[in-house]
Amino acid sequence: MKLDLDQLRELIRLLDEANLTEIEVEHDDDRIRVRRDPAPLPAAAPVESVAPVTAQGPEPVGVSSAPEDDDGAYITSPFVGTFYRAPSPDGDPFVDVGDSVVQGQVLCIVEAMKLMNEIEAEAAGTIVEVLVENGKPVEYGDRLFRIEIG
């Protein structure tokens, strides 16, 4: 692939000049996109407060009620609790990367208040990634598995 760097520079200059966040140009099979996320300038930060240095512990990660984004679909935790991949400490994992799963199949357990909550697949698909380590705590909405639907 041959890059026309000058053209690219021209686009970036334009982006800056016009204070844009994105320019995308497509022509035949060519496509150029330049993008700059809105700068988190000092003033764009929360105005009165920011998280103090003392705030620690489990960061709420990617809590998303829309389970699908660019990278595929996610199974998120509907409970706060402890994540287990197998029905018993020495049992085999319910699923592993590469496994095909059917709708309703048990993928893992989230334990809370001594109750073992089985988390089921909402749709058929293939497990692409296991995102939480066995025995680790999870929050509501934490991503547990990445799954390719279908």
Binding site: P46, E48, A55, P58, G81, T82, A112, M113, Y140
Partner: protein
């Protein structure tokens, strides 16, 4: 002592508890809903756990999620704040079963005082003055008999109600017949319980409440009174301590009565006994709130104490450190609840706070759960901040609150600051001539048309 406290609440009270925990060297766990991921309590706690979506029933009211959050963080105590699960005996019991110290009263005390009829009977048996009232009503004919026995006007109340909900003023037999079945159905729908009873209706009472603390050694302290007569539809808006309506003698006498009654009841932790004060100067028991209250700071300022600190000490089994004789108030304190709402229509005004400048300086305390750039979600209480002032006299406290309100800037949402300013400029308020009807009489037309908010 326990070492890590989970705060089962949000907003300013969650921050309030986090602050005292930090001063005591206790670690803190905030729980939050998805919409509160950037909330101030989430940010200021040592750890924060997302427990569910924005709907309170699936997060802040969802007991299993809160207990699970305590489990995975290793918290060993829970502070419920006010509202949400603070008066839920099942929650307190579940905490105990899971080995978590519940920082509040015992579940049986919540049950006892949570039911308005049993509370009134208990209060009477403990020697507290009660408003003339009746037993539970059987049917509409029984209602007419009981109301005539008590004498109109009467207040028809739901036994399961509270916080001003489930009440009807009835002026005549005809009115009673017209409203009775509706009231019963409402009560059933709202509280899952259609038991109703009557109380004598006072036209223009003042709302006076006494703050108490009880420890595990059986000591009870009465920390003076607050006046919370400035209400809109039974929602308190502005509170003060002490009340101008009480003489030193009335305060002393009622403190003695309350202390004796609560010692006999074996009450533990912080609680508030609410009274109505009629125009003849008689105090009668209204209800007992087994929790910390929104307006507790005015007591803290005039008494020079930290009530959350005392609650924590009590839960840990330590005796109260307060002197044995009643503390006397120093100066006068006023609290304004700053709500995200239209000051005229009272319609909620959630949104993003674009600018925030809270007042400061001598005698000004700010308890806030928000920050500039932060969001006030529509799912919860509209309280965004409490502005509290303390000055040597009531006149000076009023002047200070006017000054503090004039400095306060909250941009991006509407707030009830203009309403507070109207209250504080009103001659009747300045002279202390107030009652729970004050706001109705300030804006009679508005009170009729404004939407009900529960």
């Amino acid at each position: 002592m326990f070492e890590k406290v989970l705060i089962a609440n949000r907003g300013e009270i969650a921050l309030r508890v986090i602050r005292t925990c930090r001063e005591l060297g206790l670690r803190t766990v905030a729980v939050h809903s998805e919409i509160d991921t950037e909330a101030l309590h989430t940010r200021l706690a040592d750890e924060a756990i997302c427990i569910g979506p924005a709907e309170p029933s699936r997060s802040y009211l969802h007991i299993p999620a809160i207990i699970a959050a305590a489990e995975i963080t290793g918290a060993d105590a829970v502070h419920p704040g006010y509202g949400f699960l603070s008066e839920n005996p099942e929650f307190a019991e579940t905490c105990a079963q899971c080995g978590l110290e519940f920082i509040g009263p015992l579940p049986e005390q919540m049950r006892l005082w949570g039911d308005k009829v049993s509370a009134r009977a208990m209060a009477k048996s403990l020697g507290l003055p009660t408003l003339d009232g009746t037993e539970l009503i059987e049917d509409v004919e029984d209602a007419v008999r009981k109301a005539e026995g008590l004498g109109f006007p009467v207040l028809l109340k739901a036994s399961g109600g509270g916080g001003g909900r489930g009440m009807h003023v009835v002026h005549s037999k005809e009115g009673l017949r017209a409203v009775f079945e509706t009231a019963r159905a409402e009560s059933r729908a709202a509280f899952g319980n259609d038991a109703l009873y009557f109380e004598k209706f006072l036209e223009r009472p003042r709302h006076i409440e006494f703050q108490i603390l009880g420890d595990k050694q059986g000591n009870i302290h009465v920390l003076g009174e607050r006046e919370c007569s400035i209400q809109r539809r039974h929602q308190k808006i502005l509170e003060e301590a002490p009340s101008v309506a009480l003489t030193d003698e009335m305060r002393r006498d009622m403190s003695v009565t309350v202390r004796r009654a609560m010692a006999e009841a074996g009450y533990l932790s912080a609680g508030t006994l609410e009274f109505l004060l009629d125009e003849r100067g008689e105090l009668t028991f209204l209800e007992m709130n087994p929790r910390i209250q929104v307006e507790h700071p005015v007591t803290e300022l005039v008494m020079g104490i930290d009530l959350i600190n005392e609650q924590i000490r009590i839960a840990d089994g330590q005796p109260l450190e307060l002197p044995a004789q009643p503390l006397t108030p120093r100066g006068h304190a006023i609290e304004c609840r700053i709500n995200a709402e239209d000051p005229d229509t009272f319609a909620p005004s959630p949104g993003v706070i674009t600018e925030l400048h809270m007042a400061g300086g001598t005698g000004v305390r700010v308890d806030s759960g928000v920050y500039g750039g932060g969001r006030v979600p529509p799912h919860y209480d509209p309280l965004v901040a409490k502005l509290i002032v303390h000055a040597p006299t009531r006149v000076q406290a009023i002047a200070k609150m006017r000054r503090a309100l004039s400095e306060t800037i909250i941009g991006g949402i509407r707030t009830n600051i203009p309403l507070h300013q109207r209250i504080l400029e009103h001659p009747a308020f300045e002279e202390g001539r107030i009652s729970t009807k004050f706001l109705d009489e300030l804006h009679p037309e508005r009170m009729l048309t404004a939407p009900v908010r529960h």
